[in-house]
């Protein structure tokens, strides 16, 4: 396989972006990434999107986005793996370049979630769960993650304060991210007095509904060198699935797809989890960040909560997590999230993270962990500074 790099990244405005459509959001991010990288062409395009159809009544996104960035004729396809769609699109771009089939591929992700009502958005998101065995019976994503939270609290004595610490930390980081949907700091007591969604998860334990897009230029190292801009290498890519239904899992306190995807990415990279210095993980709910950190081996089971409470995952901690603000503060346009995680790892490794958010210590290797549904799929990438 060829060495594959990320030579530039771009993001659209994130938030409730009422005045921009699905295609405009994507074009904003794509043109930003193209401009920043300095590439004069791209060979193909992957668009990560969970549900253009349900959120915005638009499918056929490969064609649409190639057209709207002014490049009809480009090979382009939409990639879907629920909330892991962006990460999977990045993986597809990685393999196309690694195989030698293309030199420069645009990997993008987009979701336009506010063109429908909140109820319709909730229903669209629920299609990432098992419609016959979960959704039909009334389960929602907050409900599924709430069950995981209860199981984790019962087994490992994880506390309300530990969940709050995740939200507080991510909002602190997001307060320094100009792309964040909710760029403000919060206090534990604010989390703990916010509206209950699904016990024990309150509204400030949940990631929001967001419009947004993110793009990355994935290319060979030869191309990256020629461009003369800061770039990072993709050391490993791993993906995995698990039972889509929570009820079929032996243990609700771990996410097997994340464990497998992480192990596969580390194996490809020839590294161990101890070599990873920081990560963006899929904190769709506060409990998800804790479970993922344990599932990928950053913490022993039951130890992510105390570690987070002790500040170990903060910007100055021993293992910074979600320096971007995570899904919680930065927002969660589901199809774009996986690419936005790559954007943050790229910015941190190339020391381009905006004011105050740049991790002070020297960073060499970072990980992006993206996840679909309640852990029915996960995709992990390991990036290294060039």
């Amino acid at each position: 396989m060829k060495t594959v790099c990320v030579a530039g990244v771009g993001m659209s405005q994130w938030g409730e972006v009422w005045r921009k459509s699905l295609r405009q959001l994507f074009a904003d991010a794509a043109l930003d990434a193209i401009a920043k990288s300095g590439v004069d062409h791209i060979d193909s395009l992957y668009v990560g999107c969970m549900s253009g159809g349900l959120f915005a009544q638009q499918e056929h996104l490969g064609s649409l986005m190639a057209d709207y960035i002014g490049m009809p004729g480009l090979p382009a396809m939409r990639v879907e793996s629920a909330c892991a769609s962006g990460g999977m699109a990045f993986r597809a771009a990685f393999f196309e370049v690694a195989s030698g089939a293309a030199d420069i591929v645009l990997a993008g992700g987009v979701e336009k979630m506010t063109d429908c009502s909140g109820d319709d958005a909730t229903a669209a998101l629920a299609t990432a769960a098992d419609q016959e065995y979960e959704v039909f019976h009334g389960a929602t994503f907050p409900g599924l993650y709430a069950m995981m939270a209860h199981a984790h609290m019962a087994k490992y004595k994880t506390t309300r304060s530990m969940l709050s610490a995740v939200a507080v930390k991510n909002h602190h980081n997001g307060s320094m991210n100009p792309n964040a949907q909710y760029p403000f700091k919060i206090k534990p007591e604010t989390v703990e007095s916010s509206v209950m969604v699904a016990d024990p998860l309150r509204i400030l334990d949940c990631s929001p509904i967001t419009d947004g897009a993110a793009c990355a230029i994935v290319c060979t190292e030869e191309v990256a060198k020629k461009l003369g801009k800061p770039y990072v290498k993709i050391l490993g890519s791993g993906a995995a699935t698990d039972t889509i239904q929570l009820a079929q899992r032996a243990d609700l306190t771990t996410i097997k797809a994340a464990t497998l995807a992480s192990a596969r990415a580390l194996k490809m990279a020839g590294r161990t989890i101890k070599d990873i210095q920081f990560a963006e993980v899929h904190d769709c709910f506060t409990i998800a960040e804790l479970i993922v950190l344990e599932s990928i081996g950053v913490y022993e089971p039951g130890c992510a909560g105390p570690g987070t409470l002790a500040g170990e995952t903060g910007l100055d901690g021993k293992f910074p997590v979600n320096t971007s603000g995570g899904l919680k503060s930065k927002g969660h346009p589901v199809g774009a999230t996986g690419i936005a995680q790559i954007v943050e790892i790229y910015k941190q490794l190339t020391r381009q993270a905006e004011t105050g958010r740049q991790v002070k210590k020297d960073l060499k290797v970072g990980m992006a962990q993206n996840m679909g549904g309640s852990g029915g799929s996960s995709v992990v990438h390991i990036l290294e500074v060039a």
Binding site: E16, W18, R19
Partner: protein, 349 residues
């Protein structure tokens, strides 16, 4: 310029508390009270509708107008989202009840929550042009909010009436400015019971954009600044929005206080800023300047600058003040009674 020669208000005495609605739907009452600054809202009893509310408010406006003979009123315009009939005007009944028929022009107005201020604008224009001596504008609603929807916590009832004329003014209209764009933020189609809305979009892109657009334009037109006014009234879909827009535009809490009724009254839709104006006139002094800005989804705002005259001191207490209607002789109802009053329980027969 023309202005107000008589004004009146009417509100139901029944109230329902936010907690009572929240209890039924499993909603979080503190978040409505804190987030939207709503405590309770008025509930129209079964024998009250836009027409009866309008009659009461119009009669009070006639009392304060003192010398206006109803037969001299050349037009009656009622702005409402809840005209009792889809086909048949509300204004004919009201005109008949106050003795203003038959030589009178009549139309019912519709523009979501700014139907009332539209009626005021057109009535003012007729009088200003010399087309007629007096014109009566009424803003009234028995607002609809779907069960369990956020709107159910605010949708309320009330009416404000204004007789426009050129002599014996209580408040002269110095400037108006209307501001409008096509905006799908809140709508109710024919045969639907309840309006639909687009959540926060309805706030940011619709309410705030238009109230600020209209207010900034009228300030520019008049060369005035927020501190030149004693009082200000903004459309009140909940308690929070009018307060936020006022403060963001540079007005103060003290300026909006008398007309800021929504935390206890709820959202009287077309009636909201006009009723706020009646409550403000109740406390205004001669020479005071009042900013008023309505908002109607779809969407637009009508802004008015009023200058209060000496006559206010003679007429304000000729009939009941708006705050007395808001504060006194209240009857609190439970959700079942409210559902019956609002005909939310559908029967076959």
């Amino acid at each position: 310029m023309a202005g107000i020669v008589g004004y009146g208000c009417h509100l139901p005495r029944h109230r329902i508390k936010v907690e009572e609605i929240a209890k039924v739907w499993g909603a979080d009452a503190p978040s409505y009270k804190k987030g939207l600054m709503l405590r309770e809202k008025s509930v129209p009893p079964p024998d009250m509708d836009t027409i009866t509310l309008s009659v009461e408010a119009a009669r009070r406006a006639l009392i304060r107008a003192q010398t206006v003979n109803p037969v001299d009123i050349g037009a009656i315009y009622i702005g409402s989202e809840s005209h009792p009939y889809a086909v048949k005007p509300s204004g004919t009944t009201v005109a008949e009840a106050i003795g203003a028929t038959p030589d009178i022009h009549c139309a019912d107005f519709e523009f979501a929550c700014k139907a009332g201020s539209e009626a005021m604008f057109v009535a003012l224009s007729h009088v200003e042009s010399g087309f007629m001596k007096y014109a009566l504008a009424i803003a009234a609603d028995t607002s609809q909010g779907a069960p369990s929807d956020a709107l159910e916590f605010s949708a309320a009832a009330g009416a404000g009436a204004f007789i426009m004329g050129k002599e014996n003014l209580i408040a002269e209209c110095l400037f108006t400015h209307s501001y409008m764009t096509d905006m799908p933020d809140f709508w109710r189609r024919e045969h639907e019971f309840y309006p639909q809305h687009a959540g926060r979009f309805t706030g940011e892109e619709a309410y705030f954009a238009h109230t600020k657009g209209a207010t900034n334009a009228i300030l520019k037109k008049s060369g005035m600044k927020p501190q030149d006014f004693q009082w200000a009234i903004f459309h009140q879909p909940n308690g929070k929005f009018p307060q936020r827009v006022a403060l963001e535009l540079g007005f103060t809490q003290e300026q909006i206080d008398p007309g800021w009724l929504s935390p206890r009254l709820g959202n009287t839709y077309s009636g909201a800023s006009p009723i706020g104006l009646t409550a403000t006139l109740d406390v205004a002094k001669p020479g005071d300047m009042i900013m008023m800005c309505s908002y109607g989804s779809g969407a637009g705002s009508d802004a008015f600058i009023w200058k209060v005259t000496d006559r206010i001191d003679k007429v304000r207490d000729l009939t009941i003040r708006t705050h007395k209607l808001l504060d006194e002789n209240l009857t609190y109802v439970d959700y079942g009674t409210y559902a019956k009053f609002r005909r939310k329980i559908h029967k076959n027969a």
